[in-house]
């Protein structure tokens, strides 16, 4: 490939996207960061002054809820990621190794169809399944397995179940790409040398798919820590996450400045994940280029 020379005239086609991203992405995030250091709206309120009090409020946490919210956001994200990995890996492996094109297309469709269904709709589906008069509790009571409904919803359990359902397709798609690129003959070689199917998988395929596991996990983690709909509908009063806190500050407390500070905290966590994710993807495509 030729060494990159001057940009060609086609490069001008970047302009509209650049304009969109500067005006509606870079600038607004700058505004959010700025607002987080102001006491009020600096445009309409001439008495608004620069302050770090929103961050102090978060750091010293005299109300005793902000640290808990951050911790439960990260915990829910982590559990969702682990469960998504456990559920997504077998599906991705199956899909990557499937020999029939039709079967592959069908499974892929089954994985993508939920992705194309809105989060509000999917959360509603889980509410109808997990609530006290929902599908599971009705069946369990009818069959005489339990006498009163199990607490499947309005807690962290229900939140995680619905979040896993919403984000597992991202895990499957990331993993399928990586597993599909692993040469199947490596596993066959291990097996012809006497390894059992499980051992060949654990010692050959699994280590080779580690970059995919990392990339998929970071993606699901980034998505689930920013979830708002699902924890607020499925969590009841048990769950309070950072995005819920942000929405509260905007909607009911009308304190956009403190919301901005909470936003910056969430943004910093996400940025760290995005950087790691991009590093792994860059390494993955580098390996692909060598192959």
């Amino acid at each position: 490939m030729a060494v990159a020379s001057r940009p060609s005239p086609i490069a001008w086609l970047l302009a509209p996207a650049l304009l969109l991203f500067v005006l509606f992405f870079v600038l607004p995030f700058g505004v959010m960061a700025m607002m987080s250091f102001y006491s009020g709206n600096p445009v309409t309120n001439p008495n608004a002054f620069l302050t770090t009090r929103h961050y102090e409020r978060f750091v010293f946490d005299t109300a005793g809820i902000y640290h808990d919210a951050l911790w439960s956001t990260l915990r829910i994200g982590l559990i969702t990621t682990i469960v998504s990995l456990l559920i997504g890996y077998p599906l991705a492996h199956w899909m990557a190794r499937m020999q029939s094109r039709l079967g592959h297309a069908l499974v892929l469709m089954a994985v993508i169809a939920p992705m194309l269904t809105g989060i509000v709709v999917r959360t509603f589906a889980w509410m109808t399944i997990l609530q006290d008069k929902g599908v599971i509790n009705t069946l369990l009571i009818d069959w005489g397995i339990v006498s009163k409904p199990l607490p499947l919803m309005y807690n962290e359990f229900g939140t995680v179940v619905a979040l896993v359902h919403i984000y597992v397709p991202f895990m499957v798609l990331t993993l399928t790409g990586v597993i599909g690129r692993i040469d199947e003959r490596l596993e066959q070689a291990a097996r012809s040398l006497g390894a059992g199917r499980l051992r060949a998988f654990v010692e050959v395929t699994l280590p080779l798919s580690l970059p995919g596991i990392l990339a998929g996990s970071l993606l699901v983690f980034a998505l689930s820590i920013s979830a708002y709909v699902t924890p607020s509908l499925m969590g009841g009063t048990d769950v309070l996450t950072l995005p819920m806190l942000i929405a509260q500050q905007v909607g009911t407390s009308f304190n956009p400045n403190f919301a901005g500070a909470l936003g910056v905290v969430l943004l910093l966590v996400s940025l760290a994940i995005v950087v790691a994710y991009n590093r792994i993807l860059a390494r993955l495509s580098g390996e692909q280029g060598l192959a």
């Binding site: 020379s5 940009p7 600096p42 077998p90 892929l108 169809a113 499980l198 509908l233 942000i246």
Partner: protein, 275 residues
């Protein structure tokens, strides 16, 4: 299939291990699909509250959905916004992908990552940041502001699908056209554009869905009485769980499914395995 496979594949022997593997995957597929099937059941079940097992089949919830102005207004607003987002993101995203793939730009991989970043950063923060900017600018919460916000999170999908097509096609086709005397403009309009069209359209379909189902970006940017369908459904669900929500869900799901079929026809779904 009669075509010979490129690698020698051993036929998998069917034993207990294989049976467990297949059963497990069947269960996981059921986990993915059952909730959608259950929504259909509740959309057709005539009882006033969500209850299981269903007692019959009726269209009363669909009727309620289409007769409630709150829902239909929101549906029309969502369709209008998604339509605008579709057009804007095809133009902006398609052009951007061309520039990235053919523009000889310095820092290409950085730029690509930058244009993908709205997908990785919390969407609720994009909504919050835009809400604060509109607040500072004193423009209120206009519909065009919502459309631009949706376009921002939809453009990455168009860029991704278009780049995928651009990577896959042979540059020598363009070179051949140029060697045969076509001007760069003619090569662009008669060779490049027709070749990337499926990728751009597929991305546009994604963009439509992303906007139509969008919640976190919309949350802070809609005004009372001017809410999009997902926001109306969310507010309704906080107090009421009846079949109308299921019917509304079905309307969205049917829209999504028809879109999947269109996608499959356009370029085949395999292209999306490569995220």
């Amino acid at each position: 299939m009669s075509a010979p496979l490129p690698t020698i594949r051993n036929k998998q022997p069917f034993d207990a291990g294989r049976a467990t593997y297949l059963t497990l995957n069947g269960l996981l597929l059921a986990f993915l699909l059952a909730p959608i099937a259950i929504v259909l059941v509740f959309a057709l079940n005539p009882t006033p509250y969500i209850s299981f097992p269903p007692v019959g089949v009726s269209l009363r919830w669909f009727e309620k959905f289409f007769r409630t102005p709150e829902f239909t207004n929101a549906l029309f607003l969502s369709l209008w916004v998604a339509g605008c987002v579709l057009v804007l993101s095809i133009v902006i995203g398609g052009a951007c992908a061309l520039a990235l793939a053919r523009g000889n730009l310095p820092g290409r991989s950085f730029l690509t990552a930058f244009f993908m970043s709205p997908l990785m950063l919390p969407a609720i923060l994009t909504g919050l940041a835009l809400f604060q900017s509109y607040l500072l600018a004193g423009i209120g919460r206009p519909v065009w502001g919502l459309i631009m916000a949706h376009t921002l999170v939809a453009v990455p999908y168009v860029i991704r699908t278009t780049l995928a097509v651009l990577h896959n096609f042979d540059r020598r086709i363009e070179e051949a056209a140029a060697v045969l005397g076509a001007s760069p403009t003619r090569v662009f309009f008669e060779v490049t554009l027709p070749l990337i069209r499926p990728g751009v359209f597929a991305g546009g379909v994604f963009a439509f869905i992303v906007s139509f189902d969008q919640f976190p970006v919309s949350l802070f940017l809609v005004v009372p009485k001017g809410e999009t369908l997902p926001v109306v459904l969310f507010n309704y669900m906080k107090f009421d769980l009846d079949g109308a929500i299921a019917a509304a869900s079905m309307v969205s799901i049917l829209l999504a499914l028809s879109v999947v079929l269109v996608l499959e026809r356009l370029i085949g779904l395999r292209a999306y395995v490569k995220l």
